[in-house]
């Protein structure tokens, strides 16, 4: 029973692989863009490092961590073997935990409240030329979307696999 469910689950996950690849690619890309955005802002406001150096460092580390984990999951989604399936699933759990960690840390440690807006991430670095996109906003938007949709997608896939295996 479990083996059949697992087989169906793997099949469905493989069929929706393109969406997973796209989602992880976008989150990873925007994590790095957002990180670059922080560097860019800091380059215009070097004084911000004196006041919020630790917070900026933590933020940079979390952005890089999210970017790397999602990049790894993205690359693990290109293999077909049974072993790589489990590796990709492990990276999925890790990416979800990393995102949760990112939001928890940025909200509670950096902003002081979970419901504070993301614009607080500027750490007082308001005066710098804006670039083509607000990379930090975009990253938070896509990361939140991923955090919400990806578990739902996994649950729906598991349910479909259960129905199909019966």
């Amino acid at each position: 029973m479990f083996a059949k469910w697992l087989e169906e689950y793997q099949k469905l996950v493989n069929e929706t692989r393109f969406v997973s690849q796209l989602g992880t690619f976008i989150v990873s890309l925007f994590a790095f863009l957002s990180c670059w955005h922080i560097f860019y802002a800091v380059s215009y406001n070097p004084d911000a490092l004196n006041h919020n150096g630790n917070k900026i460092l933590v933020s940079i580390i979390f952005h890089i961590l999210v970017g790397v984990i999602f990049a790894l999951r993205f690359s693990s989604l290109f293999f077909d073997s049974r072993k790589s399936f489990w590796i990709a699933q492990t990276f999925w759990v890790m990416s979800l935990l990393t995102l949760l960690g990112f939001f928890t840390v940025t909200r509670f440690m950096l902003y002081g409240s979970f419901f504070k807006p993301a614009s607080e991430i500027n750490f007082g670095m308001h005066h710098y030329p804006k670039i083509f996109l607000y990379a930090d906003y975009s990253f938070e938007f896509f990361a939140s979307l991923y955090l919400l949709i990806s578990p739902i997608r996994q649950i729906i896939t598991a349910l479909f696999a259960f129905i199909k295996s019966k």
Binding site: F25, I26, L29, S75, F78, P129, F132, L133
Partner: protein, 750 residues
């Protein structure tokens, strides 16, 4: 029968979907329309005038960016997939890579050249744009502006001085000042004391910002800072202060200068120029970004085109290769179902036709193979085929039975694993001869191992062997088909027939002289008895007549008998022996005669159990105990009851006679059962006697073979003949744990 027609029908190939073409056409039409609109200036020039416009621009730029991200993702994904396919040696990966590299190499140079030239042109344009305004124009504009400011300030001062002279030593009311201000287009006029206190004033109603500026000027003047340059800078409101002779001061502020004033215009122009100069970097950055996006889009387009074309080639090739692999594995029903174009479509179609034909042929071959296999398996003759190494490739059921092999798969076995060493020599010689000359035959006796644990009637089997070489394939050595024909039944039949002939001749040749011999002996005996009686009668008469007879009587021989008596005894014994032996010979001849002329069996439906019961009943009072184990619901068989009774009586009689006299527990077992698999009724008569010596098994059913030292030895021969006439078989095996067992097999009524 396989439905070959249905199997050979080509499966419908998938039709090409038209949706991508429609989509492509729509996008192309849209692009053409955009180009036409742009080139004909029909479209309104877009300019950012409101917050909505900014939002629209932001949305469009975001859309562009996400399109860029998506295209980048697709390109990256394709390249990673290509790399993975190359690593896993996927079919078509190489041609895909090669095509991608070609397209990339062909397109990258013009793309880079275009990007480079575009960047140069952009730079040149920007530099020319900003350097085309000469520096002296700016300087002159500044000079003109300064002159204008100076002149304006002088005029204002002169006006204020003139008013101060004409109005000296007078006191003014506010109304009078209002008249002066209205006449002289003044926004504000005020009389100040020596200590800068307001004595009288008039001011026009002006807007908030202008009022603030006027208030600032008033504050400056009232603070005594009348020589501040800001009062006469020709920007916004200017102010001039003139001195009365009594120490009072007159403050005059004319109306606000219009925006179109030369100074303002020059200021605006110079500010705009400075802003443009500052935004040059931004423009350059935007230009570079646009060029980058365009370059990337072109690279993406060329890469995607390469991969698309490669996919169009590799997908059918891959499908064909996989199809060929499936066909090679024997899956002739496989069809290639991919979209292909031009010659590839033709190739796919040809491939499908070929596989359909192969499937058809395969089905036909399979049917033929099954037919041959069925025939081969049902043949009573053993057939074994060997390859060039004398390894078994096929073997039929009869061969397995003849060679007494275990029931398992013998394919691939070598000859020495199938037969004994003696047989191997014979068979190898035969096979080699067949390989040399095409066909070889030989009659021999196969030495077989006894699978039942002891010797039996068929341990050595006379067979006819025929080996035929298979047609030789190019580059391969030929195999051989060996046909093994069991001659035992034929030989038995021939032997029985010969014995019948012998018996018939013996009956004829021996019986004829026996009767005269018997009659002659009887006549001699009778004559001699009569003669003796006459002699005794005459001797008695002589005794009565005198002694003369005593004198002529011959002397008695040893033992007290007279010579006449001795002769009489010899004659009597001789004739008795002759008659006895003649009777014995007659009995034997009768037996042979019966064997030779056994009555034809009259087959009728009957039950074997009943015959065995009747036969056993005849021996109820004998020393041996007969135990019956007769199957219930035994099917009927076509039998001649009298003849078969003779068979079982004979077998039971033989069993009884096989016991030692000293043996105490003498048991005979009669068992019947129905062998459903072979559709035979089997009757077994076994005993726990001495059994049959291994050397006697082969001769057991031969006529004139007996181990009893008496009798004609025709009993088992007759038994076998009767069973044969019932289309049955009889064989003898050793019984377990001791004794002998005779097995009679009869066919049931169909």
């Amino acid at each position: 029968m396989l439905n070959l027609q249905a199997m050979s029908e080509p499966k419908p190939t998938p039709k090409k979907t038209k949706a991508p073409w429609f989509l492509g056409g729509f996008v192309l039409a849209l692009l053409t329309l955009l180009v036409l609109l742009q080139s004909s200036n029909l479209w309104k020039t877009f300019s950012i005038e409101s917050a909505d416009d900014t939002l629209l621009l932001y949305a469009l730029s975001s859309l562009n960016f996400f399109a860029f991200v998506i295209f980048g993702f697709i390109l990256l994904r394709n390249l990673i997939k290509l790399a993975r396919e190359r690593r896993s040696l996927t079919l078509g990966a190489k041609i895909k890579t090669r095509l991608w590299l070609y397209f990339f190499a062909v397109s990258i140079l013009p793309i880079i050249a275009m990007a480079g030239f575009s960047y140069l042109f952009l730079n040149r344009a920007l530099e020319r744009w900003f350097t085309s305004i000469p520096g002296n124009v700016i300087r002159e504009a500044r000079e003109v502006q300064n002159q204008a400011i100076k002149s304006q300030a002088e005029k204002l001062n002169q006006t204020a001085q003139m008013l101060a002279v004409s109005l000296d030593k007078r006191d003014f009311t506010n109304e009078e000042l209002q008249h002066i201000a209205e006449a002289g287009n003044l926004t504000h006029i005020e009389i100040l004391s020596k200590t800068n206190k307001t004595i009288a004033f008039y001011k026009k109603d002006i807007s908030g910002e202008q009022k603030d500026e006027v208030d600032k000027i008033l504050e400056t003047v009232r603070n005594g800072r009348t020589d501040e340059p800001v009062l006469l800078d020709s920007r916004g409101f200017d102010a001039s202060v003139a001195q009365f002779s009594d120490g009072r001061k007159l403050l005059v502020i004319p109306d606000f200068y219009a925006e179109q004033s030369v100074s303002r215009m020059v200021d605006n122009s110079l500010d705009e120029f400075e802003e443009l100069k500052q935004s040059q970097i931004t423009v350059r950055q935007i230009g570079l970004s646009t060029l980058g996006v365009l370059t990337f889009l072109l690279i993406f387009a060329s890469s995607w085109t390469a991969l698309y074309i490669a996919r169009g080639l590799t997908v059918p090739i891959k499908a064909l290769a996989e199809g060929a692999d499936k066909i090679a594995q024997g899956n002739f029903g496989h069809r290639v179902e991919v979209l292909a174009e031009d010659e590839l479509a033709l190739l796919v179609e040809s491939f499908n036709q070929m596989s359909a034909k192969l499937e058809e042929n395969s089905a036909e071959l399979e049917e033929r193979r099954r037919y041959i296999e069925t025939v081969l398996q049902s043949l009573p003759t053993g057939v074994i085929s060997f390859d060039s190494q004398n390894k078994v490739t096929t073997i039929n059921k009869s061969a397995v039975q003849i060679l007494r092999l275990e029931d398992s798969n013998f394919v691939g076995f070598e000859l020495e694993k199938l037969v004994t060493e003696e047989n191997r020599i014979v068979l190898e010689r035969l096979l080699n001869r067949a390989k040399r000359i095409g066909q070889a035959s030989e009659q021999t006796v196969l030495q077989r191992e006894n699978t039942s644990g002891g010797a039996d009637t068929n341990a050595n089997l006379p067979v006819a062997l025929t080996a035929t070489a298979l047609p030789r394939q190019i580059g391969k050595s030929s195999g051989v088909v060996l046909v093994i024909e069991d001659l035992s039944e034929l030989i038995t039949a021939q032997r029985a027939s010969a014995w019948q002939e012998v018996a018939r001749r013996m009956a004829h040749e021996i019986k004829n002289p026996l009767t005269p011999i018997q009659l002659s002996a009887e006549r001699i005996a009778k004559r001699f008895v009569n003669q003796q009686e006459e002699e005794q009668r005459s001797r008695g008469a002589e005794e009565k007549n005198g002694n003369a007879a005593n004198l002529s009587e011959p002397p008695a021989v040893a033992g007290g008998l007279k010579p006449q008596d001795q002769t009489a005894k010899v004659i009597k014994e001789g004739t008795e022996t002759i008659l006895r032996e003649v009777n014995s010979l007659k009995a034997m001849v009768d037996e042979f005669s019966r064997f030779a002329r056994l009555p034809n069996v009259k087959l009728e439906s009957g039950n074997l159990n009943e015959i065995i019961r009747q036969s056993a009943a005849l021996y109820e009072d004998r020393a041996a105990k007969i135990e019956l184990d007769l199957a219930e619901n035994l099917p009927n068989a076509m039998i001649d009851e009298e003849q078969l009774k003779r068979v079982f009586v004979n077998l039971i009689e033989n069993a009884i006679e096989a016991f030692d006299k000293a043996q105490e527990d003498k048991r005979i077992f009669a068992k019947t059962f129905y062998d459903r698999a072979r559709d035979l009724i089997v009757a077994e008569i076994s005993d726990n006697g001495n059994g049959i010596p291994p050397s006697d098994f082969q001769k057991l059913f031969q006529p004139y073979f007996s181990t009893k030292g008496r009798g004609t030895g025709l009993g088992l021969a007759i038994v076998q003949r009767i069973v044969s006439e019932h289309r049955g078989k009889i064989k003898a095996v050793n019984n377990s744990p001791r004794g002998a067992k005779f097995i009679v097999e009869l066919p049931v009524i169909v």
